[in-house]
Symmetry: C2
Amino acid sequence: MSQPLKIALAGLGTVGGGVAKLLLSRKEELSARAGRALELVAVGARDRTKPRAVDLSSLTWFGDAVALASCDADVVIELIGGEEGPARRLVEAALRAGRHVVTANKALLAHHGLELAQIAERQNVSLRFEAAVAGGIPIVKALRESLIAYGINAVRGILNGTCNYILTQMEASGKSFAEVLREAQSLGYAEADPSLDIGGGDTAHKLALLSALAFGVAPRLGQIHTEGIAHITPDDIRFAREFGFRIKLLGMARQTANGLDQRVQPAMVRAGTPLADVEGPFNAILADAGEAGPFFFEGRGAGEAPTASAVIADLVDIARGTHGAPFGRPAADLKSGAGEAPDRVSAYYLRFEVLDLPGVLAEIAGRLAEAEVSIESMIQRGRSPGEPVAIVMITHECAQSRVTDALKVIATSDKVLGSPCMIPMEAA
Amino acid sequence: MSQPLKIALAGLGTVGGGVAKLLLSRKEELSARAGRALELVAVGARDRTKPRAVDLSSLTWFGDAVALASCDADVVIELIGGEEGPARRLVEAALRAGRHVVTANKALLAHHGLELAQIAERQNVSLRFEAAVAGGIPIVKALRESLIAYGINAVRGILNGTCNYILTQMEASGKSFAEVLREAQSLGYAEADPSLDIGGGDTAHKLALLSALAFGVAPRLGQIHTEGIAHITPDDIRFAREFGFRIKLLGMARQTANGLDQRVQPAMVRAGTPLADVEGPFNAILADAGEAGPFFFEGRGAGEAPTASAVIADLVDIARGTHGAPFGRPAADLKSGAGEAPDRVSAYYLRFEVLDLPGVLAEIAGRLAEAEVSIESMIQRGRSPGEPVAIVMITHECAQSRVTDALKVIATSDKVLGSPCMIPMEAA
């Protein structure tokens, strides 16, 4: 048996506490799997006096987590979070000091992944981040090591458990987004400041990493068209069901004739297909691996145990001597990608809140026709002359830019209230 | 860049041809992912004159595949198949000669996996078999490297595409097992001799490997209770649907208080749960990773591209220098396990073909009561006095041995025709 692997752990929140607990309570089993002892030697967190789920008194303690980079460890685990500040300083310093790094920090890697990968490769150390995407689901490893023979045509995923929980609850209860969000916050399923989750930013962070692994592009948030779910209404969810679909916030990246299309968007997913059936806080990824066909992965995407499980998997790989470029290809080979996401071709669900007045339907239909957007089906339910009603349409396939152009004009009508809602229909 | 990885390929059937095609046509991309050139240097197959999908004329050709073990290659890929004969001789010889081995041969590993792993470890070479279980789904890697932090409580899978195709078609068409099997054979979805598939043996081979990876036991077919699907009738499938279930052939291994329970059995899977929705020739695995929760994997389980994809993943790992014990733990640590599978506790679906005569139901109910098997629900449909009819029951949870004991007695009744059918109900 080789030398023990000495581990320093920064951040003792939910996940960090879980990792510490595993390293201490399952040390023997995990060391057997790793082929050498896994030895937690130091921890870093601000408040030493805070009660912890596990006794850390025998370990070297660093009140300044960044100082962990210079302690005598082979691997530094970064579970502080945040794209800048101590997390970034620690990861950079640890890599520069020739230590392997394991992190769950998607924000950090989505913003600075290319630069950090370059440092890791120059120093010939590992930078591992299985825990940064979809919690315990081994999708980072699958894209980096398994689904490579035929390349990847498309990756689509439900990558944010908070959003999926909210959409599932809206569907089950008929309640509004705002009401379900408040309930989720009181249950601890949503943060006090939920904007990164519900605005799609967290999904975009994760998609940037999946894209890098699947398509060999450097993570670039600016290239990801990002929408959230705050505008989705109970009406949208009901109409979706009538059409045989469910609304899910998807992160999607796919090769198109015009380049790599990366988006985070609520989408209509056909009922009965794998992504449609993902409930509550679960995460899932559908990877289209060319001739090898689609592969589907589902599991818990957040929380102590799933995330700690992913951290441990990375640690054991490092202990076994597994080593490779962070994004599966040398950082120098990662393509920088085009600027904007290419225009997308899809069918679209459109919902207009209108005053029930003569001519309103003709006006909307006319504007869509002018933009060469043709309608496949329409629902207008109930009549209340002069009052607000919803008109819902599904378009034939067309370029998204045509639809958004038409919607801009329609939104200026005095018979149309608020912004029209547009949701792409995901085939299969 | 390091030295090229020299590869010898034995077996040029569907999968072997696919691997050769990939190694030649996507050499540059795959070598970039591997960090070194992947170089196919020799192939072995009996008939050199047979037309192949790819030009192999520049390679060294071995008519005797076993001789590949002594050619100048770093890795030997074994795609001959079969648990004995040239496949076994080649793999043994290649390992003994200090060459890494990649194989898709579940039969070989289910029978001789422990011994081959011992040789590989002694020689300090890799023995990799991602392609042996569930085609392109990276479940071998997931169990060996990813889902290890909290251990595995249970693994259940649809591991044989032929059986799943037949069951799906029986459900869709209402046709008998025999008729659907004939159609599957004429379409190439079932072999001329289908017994290994439909008898559950192929699933047992794969389950033995999953058990080894998940639970650290040596592969032992004798410890796997194995049933096939030939006794399933259109009636069973219809009744299953009425109860809200679908019938799937599952390979299942789980930790119980009485030891590891390993079985291959048709099972009633609740509609709407992930395994129930797996259609046609697809494969899927549900792994219960303790506190980290369930993880679900689905994809193509056989055929050229999915299987070749798994072979390539193993090759690229070897090229990158990734190395570890074949079953994720040293062979010396693999437990030999108890003899027989422990008795199982479950609810059961029971179908009796009976003559519609007074007292038949009382007799069946009486025998079950004597064995302390209690009934949760019952269906008896239609009346045709004196003619055969089906009686179907769902039991409360009880030990399987009690049910089988009662069924043995019931089968001796002159009012009961043929063997009663018993299918466990899978919760969740």
